[in-house]
């Protein structure tokens, strides 16, 4: 998938039996019904924290995640992990928190890219998950606010959402989650009632933009 994974040994990172068992329970999670309405769905907003590497590129050092369950954000439904010491356990924890829910990010090329690389490197495989990118979706939902692709800050300020502390992956995920709540309200009004509708709209949008 990326140039990096090709350079690494493909046999997997050598998970302990407990870690392999943990990974196996994740795959047994029932996959969610993406045809239900947003307000019966559990979304998970993820936000990757990275640091530039010496040889160029970015290294995943942490992750924050916040769930939107039935439209509500609840402090208990949040997750944070550091990847510096035990990256495999951290990512397993993340996958348990996600529980196969559709994911929401701002800027998928970065977030999805770096997380999937992290999964591959540390767990030996990339789980199949649905990714929604607000960077793509927002301009189609709120063209009257910002027509083209814009920075996350631009969208946050358009809806009066507080700019988070850049160094806290959870707070940043919280801001994205609040933005996703805004997105869901408009999606519903436009007849895009389910995660499936949003995913399809995103695909066509990407296709239109030729990306």
């Amino acid at each position: 998938m990326s140039w990096l994974s090709r350079l690494l040994p493909s046999s997997g990172p050598g998970l302990s039996p407990e870690q392999q068992a943990s990974l196996a329970t994740i795959t047994r999670h029932r996959s969610p019904d993406l045809g239900r309405s947003h307000f019966e769905t559990r979304y998970v907003v993820v936000n990757a924290e990275s640091r530039p590497m010496d040889g160029g590129g970015q290294r995943l050092i942490g992750v924050g995640a916040v769930a939107i369950n039935r439209g509500l954000l609840h402090p208990a439904e949040s997750f944070r992990a550091e990847l510096l010491t035990a990256p495999a356990d951290a990512l397993l924890g993340l996958l348990h928190f996600i529980a196969r829910a559709p994911l929401v990010v701002y800027n998928a090329p970065f977030n999805q890219g770096i997380l999937e690389r992290g999964f591959e490197q540390n767990l030996g495989s990339v789980p199949a998950l649905e990714w929604l990118d607000l960077m793509v979706i927002m301009p189609s939902l709120y063209p009257e606010r910002i027509a083209g692709q814009a920075s996350m800050d631009a969208w946050l300020s358009a809806f009066g959402i507080d700019r988070p502390d850049r160094h806290d992956a959870v707070l940043e995920a919280l801001a994205v989650a609040q933005l996703h709540q805004v997105a869901l309200a408009r999606a519903k009004a436009q007849g895009l009632n389910t995660p499936q509708d949003l995913l399809e709209s995103q695909t066509s949008r990407k296709w239109l933009r030729g990306s």
Binding site: V66, L72, P75, A76, Q178, V182, L184
Partner: protein, 636 residues
């Protein structure tokens, strides 16, 4: 140790809550309980959050960002009566969720809005574990009021320090930085400086700021003018040395003692290093002794002439200012003002009786309007009249003339004591308002029989009469007769009620408040016309309907409301609302215009702090409640 994600999010919630009452003073444990249970939901503009048909609410909501409008739904809803806007930090629906019944209001997001939601069961539990929250929910407005009062105390602690006793440390009596000159300065320059600074006492201090001497105004005549002292010589040659000094921590009493012992009128105040901090004069101490409630009262009662009363009238104002700054509630405050003003008026009348012989005449001096209701603010003009009995054997004209001459002198004396003459000539010296009991009945009776607009306006002023001096029985008989006339007269009461509903509370549909569009007063609300009057007029209708003799608005509400079965808590909330508006008026008149400008009743909501704005909003909501009651009762 890394903070867990839930902890991070809870902290975000707590940071928000701590900025908004009542959560800012919630017990730590309860606040945490709340913070970890709040979920956040988003409601786009124009969407419904909670409707009566949703049944008993599942959540208690706190606006996090945006604006929510509460709309009364149902048969009696009339647009301007039925909306209220809620902003960040405000919660709903407190009543419905506490009682487990459907909300009477519909709640809509008028802007893109984020709300915190707390499950109903957790809301009830929170009330159990947090006494402050329970108090907030049961006595919403009262608890906000307390908080506002405390804020005011802090805000004006500086001014409050002016209301002091003789135990006050001198450090807090010093009003300005000391004016002083070096000992080597020529006497001429020193005197020039004294004039320039407008001080009666010039301190002399060295480079180290330590006082070495003092020269007072009275020294100038004896030591400089009469002996022909050479003004070119240094001030050190003519000053009193060493000066009388006291430390900053010495009390006003110490200073008074020092002055009395040494026969001086000024004391220099120094800090721990003997550096000059300020000058205290005899006059500063007089002010302290004079402005106590008891002192003012006794100075009024023993006043020998109008001049003494003028001074007392200024003291009343100063006392009111001090009490305000101490955060005393409007109810007590207006009682103080009213009691002292009554005493002042009585003393003026007594002094005039020395010159006007009314011996044997049965009469009473009446107060009308706000004075009649014990609700004077300090910028009210006179509203008074006389009721008297014409003995069968007496001639009316000469007796009335005597009363009018007496009244004219009293009116003028009152005017010179700070109660301006009434521009509408509602004064006892007006022959139309110096009437026998039969004439008053006749007058009142006409208004009741033919309640045209002017009659109703008169009723709102004159029906609030009260005796300030003289024969209480006369007013008592008039009141009984009046209540017997109005109580059984639904047509008149309906006309009064309609009149009371003329003006509605200035609550906005989108913005919090509707402010005056008069370009002369942009962004203001006239709290007399659009605030106090709403309560006063409604309470009067209640009193006339149910036969309440009291004239004060709060008493009328409590007694009259009780007689028609309004719950005591509801009436208490209305009284609180009225008091808060009165307090804002007083505060505005005293604190914001304390340079002697005539206070008006225009308050800019934007200038109020968030807490006071919320209370004001709630106070208006209470006005709306009582107006709604009138509407229902009289089918208006």
């Amino acid at each position: 140790m890394v903070t867990t994600a839930p902890d991070t999010l809870i902290r975000t919630n707590l940071d928000f809550l701590r900025r908004h009452p009542p959560f800012d003073r919630m017990e730590a444990e309860a606040l945490h309980f709340l913070g970890e249970r709040l979920a956040t939901a988003f409601y786009p503009a124009d969407s419904e959050i909670l409707m009566p048909e949703d049944g008993p609410p599942s959540f208690f909501y706190i606006v996090y960002r945006g604006k929510v409008q509460a709309r009364q739904v149902g048969g009696v809803a009339v647009t301007e009566y039925a909306t209220l806007t809620l902003g960040p930090g405000e919660g709903f629906p407190i009543g419905a969720i506490s009682a487990g019944r459907p909300s009477t209001n519909g709640y809509l997001a008028v802007e893109d809005t984020y709300c915190f939601q707390l499950p109903a069961a957790d809301f009830l539990h929170l009330q159990e574990i947090s006494p402050s929250f329970q108090l907030f929910c049961t006595r919403y407005i009262a608890s906000l009021l307390n908080q506002s009062r405390e804020q005011l105390q802090i805000q004006f602690s500086q001014r409050a320090a002016e209301q002091q006793t003789m135990t006050t440390p001198l450090s807090s009596l010093i009003k300005k930085a000391p004016v002083f000159v070096p000992p080597g300065l020529s006497t001429r320059t020193a005197l020039e400086k004294m004039v320039e600074a407008g001080v009666g006492c010039m301190a002399v201090a060295g480079d180290d700021d330590k006082p070495v001497g003092v020269l007072t105004q009275s020294d100038i005549l004896k030591r400089i003018v009469l002996p022909g002292f050479d003004l070119a010589r240094p001030i050190a040659d003519v000053m009193t040395a060493p000066p009388h000094t006291l430390g900053c921590n010495a009390s006003a009493y110490d200073a008074a003692l020092e002055m009395a012992t040494h026969g001086v009128r000024h004391i220099l105040v120094v800090d721990a290093e003997d550096k000059l901090k300020g000058v205290i004069s005899e006059r500063d101490l007089f002010a302290l002794q004079r402005i106590g409630l008891r002192q003012i009262r006794s100075s009024i009662e023993s006043a020998a002439d109008v001049q003494a009363l003028q001074r007392a009238s200024q003291d009343i104002r100063q006392l009111a200012l001090n009490l305000l700054a101490q955060g005393i509630g409007a109810e007590q405050l207006t009682q103080f003002i009213s009691a002292l003003n009554d005493a002042l008026t009585r003393r003026i009348i007594e002094l005039n009786l020395d010159r006007h012989d009314l011996y044997g005449v049965e009469y009473a001096w009446l107060a009308f309007g706000s004075e009649g209701r014990h609700e004077q603010t300090l910028s009210t003009d006179q509203d008074n009249g006389i009721i008297y009995v014409l003995p069968e054997w007496a001639d009316k004209e000469p007796l009335k003339l005597r009363l009018l001459e007496f009244a004219r002198d009293v009116n003028n004396d009152l005017a010179s004591c700070g109660f301006p003459l009434c521009t509408g000539n509602i004064m006892a010296s007006n022959p139309d308002l110096c009437l026998t009991i039969d004439e008053w009945r006749e007058r009142f009776g006409t208004w009741i029989r033919e309640p045209h607009p002017e009659a109703l306006l008169n009723a709102t002023i004159f029906f609030d009469f009260r005796v300030l001096f003289g024969d209480e029985k006369l007013a008592y008989r008039l009141r009984h007769w009046l209540l017997s006339m109005t109580g059984g007269n639904p047509a008149f009461l309906k006309a009064m009620a309609t009149n009371a509903l003329d003006v509605s509370p200035p609550l906005g549909k989108i913005r919090d408040f509707v402010t005056d569009d008069d370009p002369k007063y942009p962004g203001t609300i006239d709290l007399k016309k659009f605030g106090a009057r709403l309560f006063v007029d409604a309470a009067r209708v209640l009193a006339l309907r149910t036969g309440v003799e009291a004239t004060s608005t709060v008493q009328r509400l409590r007694q009259g409301g009780g007689r028609i079965g309004m719950p005591a808590e509801e009436l208490a909330a209305m009284a609180d609302g009225f008091h808060f508006i009165q307090l804002l008026r007083l505060r505005h008149q005293h604190l914001d215009t304390d340079h002697g400008a005539p206070g008006d009743n225009r308050v800019k909501p934007d200038d109020l702090n968030e807490l006071d704005r919320r209370i004001l909003k709630e106070a208006f909501r209470q006005a709306r409640k009582i107006q709604l009651r009138l509407k229902l009762d009289y089918q208006i």
